[in-house]
Amino acid sequence: MTRLSPALAIVDAGGATTSVGLVGRIGSRWRLLGSLAGPAGTPEAALLAIVAARVRAADPDLAAELSLDSGRLDSVPRLMARSRPPATLVVLAASRRAVGDLSAVAVRTGWRVQGASTESHDPREMSELALGQGVRAVLIGAGDPPGPDERPALDDLAALGGAVARRRPELQILLSGAIRGRRAWRESLGADPPGDPARIVEVPAAVRRRGDGDGLRQSLERLFAEPGDGRVAMRAATESLADLLDRRVELVEVGLDGGTRVLAEPGVAGAPPTSIGIVTAEGALVPPDPDDETVDRVLAWTTGSLDRHRMGDRLRELRGQPWVDAAGDGARLRLAAASAALARMAGLTPALNAMAVPDVTVVAGGAFAVAPASATALAVADTIRRTGVTQLTWDHARLLGPIGTIEDPAERRALLADLLHDGLVPLGTIVVTGNLGVRRGAGRHDRPAGRLTLAGDGREIQRDLIAGDLAFVDLPPGRQAEARFAFAERVRFGRRTRQVSVPVSGGIVGLMLDLRDVPLRLPERRDRRRTLLADWSALAWPGDAR
């Protein structure tokens, strides 16, 4: 498809907005000509028509060469990804502990999880939950062998699961552990259960002492996967990107219905690239019915004075119409919600947090679509905190998801190689150091903890490094420099060191120097916390003092 046509529309249909990027073959490579996003449901043809009209106005010859006449846009091939809304998975088990173990694994997948156990719910309540209209799958789990806290209620659980499977023949039923072997399950399900027999599948048990439930997680991911799903496809695109750049690449994405955090590494000795990470409904910008916990988590990242109820109102509005109110206070609210979502994802991926900082961090997703670049960089630095240096880029035209849907790795890599510079906007470089000492103003004077020398293009800038400081140093896109750090004491910078020299590259944000605690420690008192966040926020939202 991409070899034959001179133009290609790259469509990412997300939960909140639809983005259309128009790429054209210029010479021997694909170039991004423009992109436009509209609220979800906006016809992609309308978006494409506007982008094509802008190309025609800017360069009529190029538009003619690429056959971008308004009457011929229907024939432009589409490369499309669609973010699938999370489906509800009900987790039923015979003890609170078992439900907790299973749910802890399930929340690290695209499923939206609700749990109930025979300890906490009566059979009628459990049946009501499982028979609910929006439920797509029920995971009925027990330990293998079952624990002493599960055994008394295991037959009731198996019988309840069998009855649910019989009453809702369209439901996917997942059996974990010792359920299928129970006589109560067989008797309740009956000899000839309705529906497709393949809908009842066995999945591995989740037992804490046997690792982190990777087998169960992979099974749940497989069941959730759908061809063309943008969020899942991003993983493949990130792997291709790592392979292409020969760098470790981390992708963090926050959308309306879920988020993605993936770390990809290039293949070694001819092996394909690899990745670890999650696609999770917990990474959603705002969950469908924001509760007090969600509200508090967002409030924790805000500098305004909204109370809980009003913040709840704002989050409900944001969930209902995520494309609305993207300027002014709305932009800040969106970033606060995105920070809360990133923090939730960081909490679900301790293994990634423990790994070395990636060479490149790609920010993607509708949550960051209209935020100022420096605010986006700050949100990432606030939540995904590891010491070291990473180059930050932004998938501004939302190309990665659709490109990830290309099944052939070579073709995917080739298209990505062409569009790399147009599709990924360099935001700059984030430098995070740890163990630098007490935060400024918290007891110690602003005595420099070290010194930075930034050398590049024949110029040299020197700057004192003060513990707890956050600063943006101007380094324009396309510029490379060498940053030499000399600290008074040994600090954490990927490893423990006093002196380090790293290459950094410029971007819209420049060089972001983050000398705050790792992990970030914020005051418990709300007023102090707000003051501190407001100080940092003033740097990230230039010209918008509030």
């Binding site: 609220p39 059979p123 028979l131 109820h309 109110d325 993207a326 230039p542 918008d544």
Partner: protein, 336 residues
Amino acid sequence: MNVEGPQPGYELIRPRRVVAGPLEARFRLRPGERPLVGPGEAVVRGAPLAERIRDPRTAVVASAGGASAKPGSWWTAAPGRRSRGDGAEQGELLFRSGGRWRIAAGDPAQPLEAPFGGIVRDVQPGTGLTLRTPARGLLGLDVLAGPSTGHLHVLAGRDGHVRASQIDVGAAGAILVVGSHVDAEAITRARAVGVRGIVVAGLGVKERREVVASEQRSQAGAHGLPPFAILVLEGAIGRPIASPFMAVLEVLEGRMVAIIDEPACLAIEDPDLELPRPAPLLVRVTAGPLAGFEGSWAGLAGRHRFAGNVLLEAGLVRFGGRAPVAVPLGDLERFV
């Protein structure tokens, strides 16, 4: 009239449907609530669709109809035999374990009545039932409680705010249109005087919680209050009701309507009633400093910088006779 052709960019604005129909209304059933109708059955307004229960619980019964009993079917104790243990005389079979059935039971409450006539399309005990009807619905964002029926009465204008003192017993049995927002006290009073429903543009989280708590108390009481529902048209923040919606509501003044939650709408049973259509090229601002204002579309404005140093695609909107103003495209809605 086709307004989209000659107006570039108009179709980039999010369309908001005002009226939809015919409706396929879904009513949720909890385990233990007994459907009284079957698929294909025709029902009239007010016909009982299902028995509701209060104080739902699980009961254990020793035998329940022998081998023919299956999960989801209804069980009634044999006449003349006194029940033992949990004392349940009837209920919905959940599952059989250890030779005994668990059933979902509860005390009878007010039945679920059909808010309009239609044909029952689907019944799933413990989950819900679907009613297909030729009625149309004025679409809202969501519904609390319900379903409920009553005569529509417009109590306040599109940007009004109704207080408790404005609601008196004369509104009993009515569904009130209360404008942009309503406080918790007014809702409590409406419930107390027998109002059947409220149509409001915005309902905050605080009021929402109080309504839900009040509804739960009402359901738990032995003498339940009549059905009540709130249709929220816009969201959580109060703003004027959009004029195309208000125009329909004004036409419906005094007519029998119903509030249902799936889809969230005000159901209009009269299929012959002529409803006003939105004006061509009408757009409405949904957020920002101009929130609630309505004007006419004047074309795309390209990328503009807005508050917070944010660059957004914008459209030009003419408010009255003034010069067009650039508004973020995402903050606009059009009506279909």
